[in-house]
Symmetry: C2
Subunit: 443 residues, 2 copies
């Protein structure tokens, strides 16, 4: 059982560009004032190993360590010489890896006196995880969920309500942010808008906004995934040549890859870390590395990250959890320095791989997780062409049992090839906030 | 890891009434001629321990042993002095206990030369399990699913199709049985009709009808559940006073309770075995112990069982898996002799308990499994009134992630109190086939 989270910042020879208060006014580190001190300390820490509180570890023990499996039937179906392993995070009550950090955050927020958490969710996995975590620690929970996603997956609302949460479709009439976007005719919503609404609603006494999966401490909490993988791979007398994970805000990718990157730094065999984004929301492969808002409220500190611009609205897509306009600042910095890789695929190809995986391995991948499935298959097939036999490890971050509508569309041949929305990206990037001219710390 | 199934017939001091070929013509034991010899031997065996084939055990190892958990938060919410444990069978790819026997049956059918299995399914759990098992063993799969259930849970079709199965809504136009019931205006269907259709469709070369969850060998395969529980309870230094499971055709209830009943027979502390049925389909509490058809084809051998009559159509209900008109002949014989107990509850009360369980324990029970949740809560509360502190163990046989429509109705206050359909039962029992006057073997 893992007892400490791994903090990759301790092992990097550079600092992250500091956050900046809105519109270029340099603030006190730009940290959210609502953030519990414990999470703030984790955000700033340069210690490599941070202890997991006992109460959180007891929660983890209900479903961790999660299984690491070799996809032998998939290998056989592909006829590949590659060894393909996957780490399955969908076996917990909420169906995804998000619970790892939701429990930790709810624990720290309760310790800091919060009585209720307010969050935004895209595909609903984060919302479900926070609802479960709030239930566990006796906190109230309000969830703003992107309306287009909520309408496509009504069962997500039901499970969050069963877990005691209040669910609001965003853009809503309940906040000024929501009203503004509704007036502008945007009824489908984005995660960026939902985040703005949640921030506004969290102003009531006792309530706290809980940021979600892209924060540095959130990435930290997810390292239990990769740390378990290292032990499990060593127990299997195997070691990956490449680790692969889907990329949204970044916690799933970081959770798998950071421990391996750190392990490489201390002398283990080098591991490639490959992130996979949807072609419709390609922040690493088509975005810019710039200061941007993390949400539509324009009130939170700006972070330097790979972004498509905070006003970017991706086309409708089934992997709602990967529609965020930016990605975590650590991941952005690693990508900027060439320490990790990125690729993007289209959803029809991704679902074809996910359907094959389901038949072979008997688990239906969440659309977000299906990105990693597809990339692993592509890597395996490419390696066969090259005559190599690598060991591939990917994160199956969640199950797709609430995404049957998407699979139905795939089976019925009604899933379209969406294109990279280059014109929308160009327009959105033109709306980026003014960039600071302060030199970056450490650069 | 369990290596053998437990055969309760070896430890009973009576024989089961023999099956009878249709309409009183005594047949050769009444065994389905399509049944593989290995399954027929299991059906007839009086050996207590029957080995699990290596290939099946390797499949089991992907998710077994399943977790046994103490529901401490539920106990606390109830303020009960009872200790409540549950065995969770929903963690496998198909979401229920049914995979335990589906894999074994597919293994034996393949060994006997089958190339395709044809099955009927009510709520879809059996169909999903057989689809997965056929995928595992390289067999084709055709599934007749009760239309009313399929329409209420369209995602079930999708997952079965993803697993490579062909899914047909029953009553269908594809069989004579289906056409007959459609002509009579029954479009919603019953499991009995779907079984008749599957039997007819299995006549094509290479195809075999796979009977499902009420057969004696199916109950046998499910005993892995209770056998694991015995080891797990002993490891926890605990022992149940009562074991509780929902009752449809009987495999879930048998899987949990038979090993405990057998354990009692060899001197362990006696355990009450309580089965729970829906008030709308109360075969033990309101039915008769008589020879009846197992399906609407009127072509399969008649079994002596507790039944509401093979033409009985229960009211619409959310626990589609408990709508079968009869129950397994071993369970019927045990109930007839007072060796097990039965109770029936209404679905609104059942869902209230399931919603409480979800909040406390973080798993959404399948509507079928929710029957056991409710009965466990009732037992705990009753024991508190009596000043006792029993240990209760129930089977959480599957998750309800495909049953969110039912939970939605519950949350919205739109779930009705259905009544015991006494008039429909009376009419149906009047249509029972003529009873044989041959004396029962062993009586």
């Amino acid at each position: 059982m893992i007892t400490h989270w791994y903090n990759i910042l301790a092992d990097l020879d550079f600092d992250l560009p500091p956050d900046i208060a809105s519109f270029g006014r340099t603030g006190g580190g730009g940290i959210d004032p609502q953030l519990p001190l414990a999470l703030m300390r984790q955000e700033m820490s340069r210690q490599p190993w941070l202890p997991i509180p006992d109460e959180v570890r007891e929660c983890y023990e209900a479903w961790r360590p999660t299984p690491l499996r070799r996809a032998r039937k998939l290998e056989k179906a592909l006829g590949t010489g590659a060894a393909i392993y996957y780490k399955y995070e969908g076996g917990n009550l909420t169906g995804s890896h998000k619970l790892n950090t939701a429990l930790a955050q709810a624990y720290y927020y309760r310790a800091a006196g919060a009585r209720k958490l307010v969050v935004a969710t895209g595909a609903g996995q984060w919302g479900t995880a926070v609802a479960a975590a709030c239930q566990t620690f006796g906190l109230g929970c309000q969830i703003f969920m992107v309306r287009s996603s909520l309408e496509g997956k009504p069962y997500r609302r039901t499970i969050m309500e069963l877990l005691g949460a209040t669910v609001t479709a965003s853009p809503s009439d309940e906040t000024k942010v929501g009203q503004r976007f509704r007036t502008e005719g945007d009824l489908g919503g984005t995660l960026s808008i939902a985040l703005g609404e949640a921030l506004e609603a969290a102003a009531e006494p006792g309530a706290r906004f809980c940021a979600g999966s892209g924060e540095t401490y959130s990435l930290l909490h997810q390292t239990v995934i990769g740390l378990e993988c290292i032990e499990q791979m060593k127990a299997a007398a195997a070691w990956p040549d490449v680790v692969i994970a889907g990329l949204g805000a970044g916690s799933n990718f970081a959770g798998l890859s950071f421990p391996f990157l750190g392990s490489t730094l201390v002398g283990d065999k080098p591991v490639r870390a490959l992130s996979v984004e949807p072609a419709a929301c390609p922040k690493l492969t088509e975005g810019v590395y710039a200061y941007d808002f993390t949400d539509s409220s324009e009130r939170t500190p700006m972070q330097k990250m790979y972004t498509l611009g905070y006003r970017f609205t991706p086309p409708a897509m089934h992997a709602g959890g990967l529609r965020y306009h930016g990605t975590a600042k650590i991941i952005s910095a690693l990508y900027d320095r060439g320490l990790i890789e990125a690729t993007a695929y289209q959803q029809r190809d991704i679902f074809a791989s996910a359907a094959l995986f389901t038949k072979c391995e008997g688990i239906v991948p969440a659309p977000e997780s299906a990105h990693a499935v597809h990339a692993a298959i592509v890597e395996a097939q490419r390696s066969d062409t090259d005559g190599q036999h690598p060991t591939i490890l990917f994160s199956l971050s969640g199950h797709g049992l609430f995404d049957m509508g998407a699979y139905r569309a795939f089976l019925d041949g009604e899933m379209q090839e969406e294109l990279v929305p280059r014109e929308a990206i160009r327009r959105s990037l033109a709306l980026l906030p003014p960039q600071p001219d302060t030199p970056e710390r450490g650069s």
